[in-house]
């Protein structure tokens, strides 16, 4: 199971890529090696010397010293990464119950579509006549997102959920400034994703917490009490991170609006309600949608994501550039140049180019595959699966909000009742030995030893039953104080890793072992 690092098996003279000779070859002294190197790794590393009439044009800044980038032949490369991949857990291998992450099946059709040369091989700055189909994809996806959320506008360019939050808050800030009412504080529930307060701070706001009720929802009274002329917006996650639908959402929106503030909704959990509830009907002003959560674009071991943001009519004029418009002459990408005509209040550009096109094609393929009826079924099955887990573990694990109504697409448990010295972490690591990825742990912070389980709609009943059995078994061992659980996992590529050591003495890049250096 040990796989060496590329730095340990490769060297700077090996390459797994062949090239045709450079046209500079033979044009001047000292350049004959270029291109002849393939197949003869003992030739000197190529450099372009500035001598001669037709010398290079590098401005005298050639890189001469080796910088230690190892290469591998193609067979070695394929083997290295294939072997590495097998040390990962993934949806393709089993249920991946990470709460709030929506690890659902990633259809391979999406991958195929995204790789069509007509999408994958387009430059973002081609003339618009040559990219009508690509602009069409953006437009069609935007139409779906607006219709599904019941909102009149959408910004497509945000690169991930947190980037979408930023987009929403910037629009809110622009709208407030436009009416000459700059405000300074964002209210965030205690149970919110960490990105919510981080984003608010990133664009210069102060952040204050809103408390929750005993049943796990936003405390409307406390919120109302806190609202005032300094509050720019409230960020609500709905369904929230306790797995509950915010019953008072419309009332919250109303009091917030009445106080002159705006409502941002964290749409990470949109999967629970897509096709059954339109956020626009709840008074929300801005909401990001994680295409990699609700709309099945792959998580890829940590991205890329994509976080389009839908806007209410109040915020639509402030949406960022660029965006796609349909005109009689075809699709047009509205950028800095043309925005002035009818979108002069835009708050600017958030990223180079136009957003995560590769995710748009995948999400559109997914959305069309499901259609209006299928997406509704997605929400229903996701919620059904989560409630099934919640109720199947009655009496096994403590569900702090089990009496607060049905859960949405995730089930929340706490660590009450575990044996002395046993924690949520032990349950998580024990699940690894049962062949599962653990659930989200220690989040949300409002629940002690939180375990947030999100099965998604793409798990079968048989898979759920098997998982429930495994979780029950591990939970019972944790309650009984089974010592073996403390040292789990035993059957993973690695035992528990020392995260403290990693943080105390950070080793972030590979360095040649000292012995080897001495020998050189």
């Amino acid at each position: 199971l040990e796989e060496a690092l590329i730095f340990e098996i490769g060297d700077t003279r090996t390459t797994g890529v062949d090239f045709s000779p450079s046209p500079l070859q033979g044009r001047g002294p000292g350049r004959g090696e270029v291109g002849a190197s393939a197949g003869d790794e003992n030739a000197p590393l190529p450099t372009l010397s500035p001598e001669g009439e037709r010398a290079n044009r590098l401005g005298g800044l050639e890189r001469t010293a080796s910088f230690g980038l190892p290469g591998l032949s193609e067979p070695e490369t394929v083997r290295h990464y294939t072997r590495l991949s097998r040390q990962n857990y993934a949806i393709d291998l089993g249920l991946f119950p990470l709460g709030s992450c929506t690890m659902k099946h990633n259809p391979r059709l999406n991958e195929k579509v995204a790789r069509m040369p007509g999408f994958a091989d387009l430059h973002p700055l081609q003339t618009m006549d040559t990219v009508q189909g690509a602009l069409g994809v953006i437009h069609e996806l935007a139409h779906w997102l607006k219709t599904l959320t019941g909102m009149p506008a959408v910004a497509m360019s945000p690169k991930a959920g947190a980037h979408g939050e930023l987009c929403g808050l910037l629009a809110i800030r622009s709208a407030l400034e436009a009416r000459g009412d700059a405000r300074s504080v964002i209210l965030v529930p205690e149970s919110a994703h960490g990105t919510n307060p981080a984003t608010a701070a990133f664009c210069g706001y102060g952040v204050e917490n809103i408390p929750a009720t005993a049943e796990g929802r936003v405390d409307l009274a406390a919120l109302t009490a806190r609202l005032g002329p300094d509050v720019a917006a409230v960020m609500i996650t709905n369904p929230n991170t306790c797995g509950l639908f915010e019953r008072d959402m419309k009332a919250i929106s109303d009091v917030v609006h009445a106080a002159g503030a705006l409502v941002y909704c964290d749409g990470a959990n949109f999967n629970a309600i897509v096709g059954r509830v339109r956020p626009g009907d709840l008074g929300i002003d801005a909401m990001h949608i994680n295409l990699h959560k609700t709309f099945s674009t792959p998580h890829g071991g940590g991205g890329p994501g994509s976080g389009p943001v839908v806007f209410s009519a109040a915020l639509a004029p402030f949406a960022p550039l660029p965006f796609v418009e349909k005109t009689d002459a075809g699709y047009v990408l509205v950028e800095e140049e043309t925005a002035g005509e009818h979108h002069a209040q835009n708050f600017g550009r958030m990223t180079a180019f136009h957003g995560q096109m590769g995710m748009f094609t995948r999400a559109l393929a997914y959305i069309m595959s499901h259609g209006a009826d299928g997406l509704r079924q997605v929400a229903e099955d996701a919620v059904l699966n989560a409630n099934y887990i919640l109720r199947s573990l009655d009496g096994v694990l403590d569900a702090p909000f089990g009496a607060s109504g049905p859960c949405m697409h995730e089930a929340l448990f706490a660590d009450d009742g575990l044996a002395e010295g046993f924690s949520t972490l032990d349950i998580a690591k024990g699940l690894i030995d049962e062949g599962y990825h653990p659930m989200t742990v220690y989040f949300p912070l409002v629940v002690h030893g939180a375990m947030l389980v999100e099965p998604t709609e793409t798990e079968s009943k048989a898979a759920l039953d098997q998982f429930i059995g495994a979780l029950r078994s591990v939970a019972e061992r944790a309650k009984a104080g089974d010592a073996a659980l403390k040292s789990a996992p035993h059957f993973a590529p690695r035992r528990r890793l020392d995260e403290t050591l990693a943080a105390r003495k950070p080793v972030l890049v590979w360095k040649e072992p000292v012995v080897a250096e001495a020998a050189e």
Binding site: T12, T130, D373, L497
Partner: protein, 452 residues
């Protein structure tokens, strides 16, 4: 509904276990008025895989893809040949359908790869350390400016006029809200960069100088003097590299004194993709590591003493620090980082140098050929694989004209700097290993006609 495994029998049995009489019971907390009674009107219902594929293929065919035409666009996104094994490997389910490696025991594949990636980026950039990726070059650039503010506790950033205008726009958008002061300027159509002007402008309020290398017009300037001047004044030098292949031929910014080096990694492994997803690279010198944004992977040992890798220094991050985090970035560009790392492993230093030489050689050939066209003037003295031409006409309509003839001629400065009359005749032309002599000849012929 091929993605949904539950059968109606399953659903009934599960509702029974839950104690609900129907699925509607589970949505009881949604206010009555907001509950939709059926599928949303006006949207089509589910479609077969074949139907979806046909629809998407039809849209795809409405584009002129880079591979179908002589192609010369660059300006922050480059067409390079990506080996077939890269795409094969990133599609392995174990990479594609994994999550952020929060449970390191069963994510060593992703983690070791990130550790290798960080090392590759650091060595490429000539820096001590690198992070596990950002969204793209433009957002990485802003994060670097914010980081410099944190390090220096100053709020004035000098942005070179050679910095990609989209990167400038992103910074301007953010600075408008954060209160950072940005000094910016338009580039001039000359062989000289604005290095001299930047040297002049650095003062003791300056948090950082941001210089693109090679710059938006393809010009290459030594960064050493700017680094020295910045350091004298307690400011940082941020170098931005939009074309990583250039560093197979050119000195690394870190080796010339840059404190932070950021850039776009798209050229290696990722492909054009109409602008995204791309991968932001972010590296800096060791002393600033705890001020870095984004995820970091570090080496450690497991309970048996075996080497392993974990996400580390997460006390900088939002999920721990919330509003006190160094950035709000969470999901980054993991799969693109994997593609970058695999492609870079295939290349190795030898391959990257070969690739860079091939790019530069073809660019020199193209520059000479195009400069010989009447009405075309080469702006650059120095360049790597991209240079700027000054045409006898406005470049933007010329580009449109050539597109109608099936030639994707480059990026006009009119597109990048709308309204800047002094730049309207500028055309940025990029040449890579995918460019053939026939392509160059076609562009030369096309320009000749278009400018006649």
């Amino acid at each position: 509904m091929r993605y949904l495994p539950l059968t109606n029998e399953d659903r009934a049995a599960m509702l029974a276990r839950i104690g609900a009489s129907s699925i509607d019971d589970l949505f009881v907390d949604v206010p009555e008025a907001a509950r939709l009674s059926g599928p949303i009107a006006g949207l089509p219902n589910h479609a077969s895989e074949m139907a979806v594929e046909r629809h998407m293929a039809k849209l795809a065919r409405q584009n002129l893809s880079a591979g179908e035409a002589p192609f010369f666009l660059g300006a922050g996104a480059y067409k390079h040949h990506v080996p077939a094994s890269v795409d094969h490997l990133i599609q392995r389910g174990e990479f594609l359908t994994a999550y952020t490696p929060y449970q390191p025991e069963i994510a060593q594949g992703t983690l070791q790869m990130l550790f290798e990636f960080q090392t590759q980026v650091a060595r490429l950039y000539g820096c001590d350390v690198a992070n596990a990726s950002m969204y793209d070059g433009s957002t990485a650039c802003w994060e670097a400016i914010v980081m410099a503010r944190r390090v220096t506790k100053r709020g004035k950033a000098l942005l070179s006029s050679g910095l990609h205008p989209h990167y400038v726009s992103v910074a301007e958008t953010m600075a408008k809200f954060t209160g950072d002061a940005l000094q910016t300027a338009l580039p001039t159509l000359s062989a000289e960069t604005d290095a001299e002007a930047l040297l002049e402008a650095i003062d003791r309020d300056t948090s950082c100088v941001v210089v693109q290398y090679p710059d938006i017009l393809g010009r290459i300037a030594d960064l050493s003097a700017i680094a020295a001047r910045a350091h004298e004044h307690g400011a940082l030098l941020i170098a931005v590299v939009t074309e990583p292949v250039a560093l197979g031929a050119l000195k690394a910014p870190g080796d010339m004194g840059a404190d932070i080096v950021v850039g776009e990694g798209q050229s290696i492994g990722v492909g054009l993709q109409f602008g995204g997803p791309y991968v932001g690279l972010f590296a800096c010198q060791e002393r600033f590591v705890r001020q870095m944004p984004g995820r970091l992977c570090g080496e450690t040992v497991d309970a048996e003493g075996k080497r392993g890798f974990v996400l580390t220094l997460s006390t900088r991050e939002q999920h721990i620090r919330r509003e006190k985090a160094t950035s709000n970035i969470c999901t980054n560009s993991g799969l693109c980082a994997l593609a970058f790392s695999i492609h870079m492993t295939l290349l190795g230093e030898r391959g990257l140098r070969d690739l860079a030489m091939l790019n530069h050689g073809l660019a020199v050939q193209a520059a000479e050929t195009l400069a010989a066209v009447p009405g075309v003037e080469l702006v650059n003295d120095s360049f790597f694989n991209e240079f700027t031409l000054k045409l006898s006409k406005e470049a933007r309509p010329v580009v449109r004209d050539l597109a109608e003839r099936g030639i994707l001629a480059g990026v006009s400065l009119g597109r990048l700097y709308p309204g800047a009359d002094a730049l309207a005749h500028g055309l940025i032309v990029a040449v890579t290993e995918t460019t053939t002599s026939e392509d160059i000849a076609a562009l030369a012929a096309g320009l000749k006609e278009a400018l006649a």
